[in-house]
Symmetry: C2
């Protein structure tokens, strides 16, 4: 039987979602696989909706795994996993799904949120937001964000060498007091893609880059990877929709 597990994590003390080659580098996947294997008394391998990088958080991450048989009910399994997990990961639900469900290939939409804090530096936000402490031209950023919406080749906005055509459904930018929230929704995002778009939008908001440069970078014939990348701590995997 196939099970779908929904969980969240504070990424600040992980080297990313995925199992690392070095044993002393904590990963969310390994922590979860260890506990699930222990409780279910069989080796469990997780397939997640995608990776998150070192320091990146998840408010809702989804994975699936297969078990031959299950002797306890799913509520009890969830509770047992949470009891054994470290405090920076929390399982929200574990549910039964069709064998055709695939946590990565069945994804219809992914949502990311990026948080920027513009107020005086606060030690409390250091792992949870980009503390920029500069004036941002939000209207200009909203204008620039429109260029990214739609189907584009994001080869200049990600670290991958192939497969970089993605469709962004929506980018919304909202300022509330000292906070700026950038919400992304799309059919998928390549490595560093959200952070590189945020970095570019911030350059524009700081009046250090012209909006007119965006079509140049989005031109599939031009190879000129942008060098702006927002820091990991402001990024949250927000939702995965199937």
């Amino acid at each position: 039987m196939r099970l779908k597990i929904i969980f969240c994590y504070d990424g600040s003390e992980f080297y990313g979602y995925q199992v690392q080659t070095k044993e002393d580098e904590r990963s969310v996947q390994l922590e979860l696989e260890k506990i699930l294997s222990k409780i279910l008394n069989t080796e469990i391998k997780l397939v997640a909706s995608g990776r998150t990088d070192r320091g990146v958080h998840a408010l809702k991450q989804v994975a699936h795994f297969d078990v031959q048989q299950l002797k306890m009910d799913l509520g009890r399994l969830t509770h047992s996993v949470n009891c054994l997990l470290p405090e920076d990961i929390h399982v929200k639900t574990i549910e039964n799904v069709e064998d055709s469900f695939h946590a990565r290939f069945s994804v219809k939409e992914k949502k990311y949120r990026y948080q920027i804090y513009l107020g005086e530096y606060s030690p409390f936000f250091r792992k949870f937001a980009w503390q920029l402490r500069k004036e941002l031209d939000i209207e200009k950023m909203k204008e620039a964000a429109k260029y990214f919406v739609g189907k584009h080749s994001f080869h200049n906005f990600c670290s991958n060498d192939d497969d970089f055509v993605r469709k962004i459904y929506e980018i919304s930018i909202e300022k509330r007091e000292n906070w700026v929230y950038l919400d992304f929704s799309g059919n998928g995002f390549r490595r560093y893609m959200v952070r590189m778009i945020v970095g570019t939008l911030v350059e524009i908001g700081l009046n250090r880059l012209s909006i007119n440069k965006i079509p140049y970078y989005l031109n599939e014939c031009i190879n000129d990877r942008i060098s702006y990348k927002a820091p990991a701590e402001g990024l949250y995997l927000y939702d995965v929709i199937y």
Copy 2:
């Protein structure tokens, strides 16, 4: 000349405000003294408004220190200190004060905030709130809080063996969505005093302790220290007024 320094810190990675005897146990005081001594090229000793315990935070802590002479302006000193400090401490201001100012003895009022989170467990709040995940009778807690206001002998509500008469000016309890904020103001609080009062109020809010027991514990003739102590991570030194 005497200088007043106002700063905040995320207490989760400190063994408390005060310098510890073990060298590998980080303290806020030592981090600040090290940096100030380095920049001012003389040994600096801080006198703070009071200590905070391991894991307790400060949104506004105040200390004073003396220097023979100062070659840079205070804005530049503040900036230099912040550049060298670890990310979990931040200096808000450094200002010149009269020699008669004393960070501890001149205190008129101290304010503490305690945060309780009642929603589903979140890895993001694990160092910043007491995640209780139980129903609380807030009205009963407000009723009980009134008993603590005024001048009392708090010998059963602190870990100290003497000098436990203090005056609490106000306790306000407010619930907003899944959060409960308990705000304390008084002329001073002894070690664990806020946490022991919060622990007691929560016992009452959980209907595990009767309000009628409070006068018993506040009776100066009775020695029966209460055993409820709210965890450190929910407590914030909020303000110090002179």
